[in-house]
Subunit: 398 residues, 3 copies
């Protein structure tokens, strides 16, 4: 994309209504309007375009981006760091220790104490049903209050780096990949995507990706097919979101217990392991009670249960049944690859390998999506600022 | 504070004599002249004012701020990071491992090896009587020598982020909070502050806060009342500092063993747990001898001793006895709150909650105090540089 | 060095042929031409000169420097951080966990996932023979492929921060120290350097320093004498490099089993412990087999073997036999100092102390060498860019 192309994109961006994103958080994609979602994609593409043209997008001269990872993370950590660095923020990690789950006033105090110069806070907290998103709201309200009371000069906004409900930075990156892959968001209309469960020998993977995918991709007139074995249901409220979205966008949302049905004629497949919602809720309760024996027993039971669905694997044979035998395979990475990272996993090695490059490209959008979320929540006139960056043409690298 | 107000403050600053702060360390507040203390407050307020006006205060284009934390820290760590970031320095943490206490040439070598591009070194080392401040001096002398010998291009200056004797970044932030709360340093004159011990179920809290408070607040004509149970004495040399300060400033310094006497008619109360000086010295000796059984026995003894003073709690009833029943409650945070963070602690929950906002504001000064210390030790003409920043009006955030 | 001196150095630099360093990695010094080595020294000195003149050398407005340390490190970590900061890159550390040795596609995936905004990757991986350098190549090829495939906007280049074969940032810093100490690279011609083994009570020190020294210092017409007890041989392929270099440069390369012979009339001595190559290879194999008992037995054997060579110590008496009794003592630090850091070690305390300042100066070149390597691999016209930095004279510190 050259400078003219970037200018056009900014012009299109300026037509959208995203004023409510200013000084606001990004929790769940379905809390954002269509224009806000479109603006996020646009800003991500524009920031990427500017960087490709070696034009600096450093809009902060100083300021911190606070990261709180309540689960191990390499990819998301680097994506958040990259996004902050691209805009001029320095990352400072708050390492609470995994075991310590703070509540109430402790959250309020810590959130304020680390935020005196924070412009954005990125949180990953996806392990416990009913907790992660709630914790993010607690942090957000704490710093809003701190700002209102004169404790904080600025109001740090929040970016959800994965919670128990949604994984917006992942699914927005996934969708932007699809938009660019198929040549425009209008070309997603009518396409079938199979968001399916797949077998993995590991336990307790979060539900945020399948939930996030059905909650977002139903907005573009796509045919979204969610398939999983019985007992691997996702959160009912997200199902409602997907159904409502499908109606509104003129697409469809289908659920089944058949990987084959989901893959049949699909343009895109997204086979991925997750834990059953009910089991995750049970686990959350057991943790709350400190019932470690119960947790061990649950883990054992879940792994056994998984094993009865080892046939849920993304095989070459299945891929043949997709549209023209050439559906696009997606994964949020890292995948459990049969014969590579485990004996039996989510996907056959040859399928994974064939789609390695598109998958890496898919991942490459995440830093830009995060940067766009920060940009839109902090800049008073995003389009004007982008124009000015383009005009000034300050080199990113001499 | 608008631009005119900032300009006035810089004008006032320029009248003070702080030339000895250039290329110098900040160890103990009582090693600094009244003008130097006043300059630090002024620069902190000016930096805060500039930031509120969205004016960049980035005076370093590159450079490192080295942090050495020999005790866990979240608040001070983020304050140091924030201060460095505000001025344009990148923080690099030296994690020595807690157990390894370096001496002599090892300190000299490490201090030089990490400082090739360091402009400032911030150290927290408060656990052992007679050690922390000494270690900071060792580091400072090492890098001064390295600079003199041509090893280091620049001389990194030191900021004491808490030692066994003083906690200057905390008590300077506390005092700046009081100055702004009461509308000017001249309004501190004659005010009574109760710096009192309070019960906590934990063991071995540093003495640097009470020592730092009596060593600093006696300089402003205040009536400083230090109260603690018998056996909880602070370092004798700091008592001497407080007495001398009180005489010189026209204030007073009173010691007692009565929390009631201290609180009576106090404008400000600062109830906080600490370990007895003599016991901390004993512990330091036991560590030196590697006498772990002795340390366990001492800890047990101290916790028992604490328990006989559970009545030293900041209650609503006691708060009623302060001036007009509305004395200002202060704490360096985190506090041990009765019924919240522990069964019995330093303060009743309702008292703490009522003063939550002023406490957070109190904490919010720390990053600016640290930045002011760095600024005054590194800038050749601090007032001129501040004028120029104000004139240039480079935005912190676009 | 004043601005005129810097200008002259840039002029000299512009005459060298270093165009192949652009968009290229720095693995082993002997893979670089004489001009490329000379250019690296020149850029390091110029960057240092600019910094001494308080002139900013920040050529990146944003961008990440990824560090991967597969062995503990303080000095190299700070050197890499300092170098990145000097040029405007922010360091992001990839902590893989020590035990996890990634291979093949996992390396490819991780390398790409962390590199979306990475301009440079610095790796230290020196523990296993045949592994470290190979791993670096794997990472480099992965990101080159990622760049070629459109996954990465830019191609991150690699800096070898120590591998199993070479330690180029150390030995280049060592050599630049010698060049400046003796007043020019031409003054190294004919000088004798004793690279000798020395006793240490620790086990398994990498061979990269002695190998790197003989592989580099033989290029400047020096008489390089490698001495070690029988059984402490280094990698045969590096011996060949040293022999070839010596022939080409008109110097000499001598091997012996006598510390005395090496020290006799030496201008420079570099006594340092290392593990035998064959033993390191054995250890690598044992790790591969997961034979922990075998590893323990090997460690015990090696420590015993070391003990029979405790007379390999750099003593005052030996130093007397160097040229004029005043040969320059070098060490990569930290040294095992007899009676200080251990009972018997590599060097007598009085020798070490006498050469403390030159050693620290030696170490001070490392950040600039690393910065030069990055600069030459990322800047399209290094000399032009340096001229412009000199002309613009943007202050590093206000």
């Amino acid at each position: 994309m050259d400078k003219c192309g970037i200018r056009e994109m900014i012009k299109d961006l300026a037509r959208l209504d995203y004023k409510n994103m200013f000084a606001n958080d990004f929790f769940l994609t379905w809390e954002k309007s269509d224009d806000e979602i479109a603006a996020t994609f646009a800003v991500a593409d524009i920031l990427r375009g500017l960087r490709e043209q070696n034009i600096s997008t450093k809009v902060f001269d100083s300021g911190l981006g606070i990261s709180i990872f309540r689960d191990n993370s390499t990819r998301t950590r680097f994506s958040f760091s990259s996004a902050c660095n691209l805009l001029g923020l320095e990352v400072q990690d708050l390492d609470e220790g995994k075991s310590q789950i703070a509540h109430g006033e402790t959250v309020r105090e810590t959130a304020n104490m680390v935020s005196f110069m924070a412009d954005v806070i990125g949180i990953r907290d996806d392990m416990f049903i009913g907790k992660g998103n709630a914790y993010m709201h607690e942090v957000s309200e704490s710093v809003q209050q701190g700002h209102a009371e004169g404790v904080l000069e600025q109001r740090p906004t929040l970016v959800n780096l994965q919670c128990d409900i949604d994984h917006p930075t992942q699914t927005m990156a996934d969708t932007l990949h699809l938009i660019n892959h198929f040549g425009g968001v209008e070309n997603l209309r009518g396409r079938k995507i199979a968001m399916t469960w797949a077998y993995s020998p590991s336990y307790g993977k979060p539900l945020s990706v399948p939930q996030g995918v059905i909650g977002l991709m139903t907005r573009f007139g796509m045919e979204v097919h969610l398939a999983h074995p019985e007992g691997y249901e996702v959160m009912p409220e997200v199902l409602e979101v997907a159904e409502r979205n499908a109606v509104e966008s003129g697409g469809s949302f289908v659920q089944s217990n058949s990987m084959e049905d989901a893959f049949a004629d699909a343009d895109i497949v997204y086979p991925k392991s997750w834990a059953p919602f009910a089991a995750m809720q049970e686990r959350t309760d057991l943790y709350g009670q400190g019932d470690w024996d119960g947790i061990d027993a649950l883990e054992k039971k879940l792994l056994e249960q998984n094993k009865s669905h080892m046939d849920w694997e993304c095989t070459e044979k299945l891929m043949q049944t997709t549209y023209n035998g050439s559906g696009l395979y997606m994964h949020c990475l890292p995948a459990d690859i049969s014969g590579v990272s485990c004996e039996h996993g989510e996907v056959e090695a040859s399928v994974f390998d064939r789609y390695r490059v598109p998958q890496y490209k898919q991942a490459s959008y995440k830093p830009y999506i995060i940067a766009a979320m920060i940009f839109l929540s902090k800049m008073k006139s995003p389009a004007d600022t982008l124009y000015r960056l383009l005009e000034e043409e300050k080199p990113r690298m001499r």
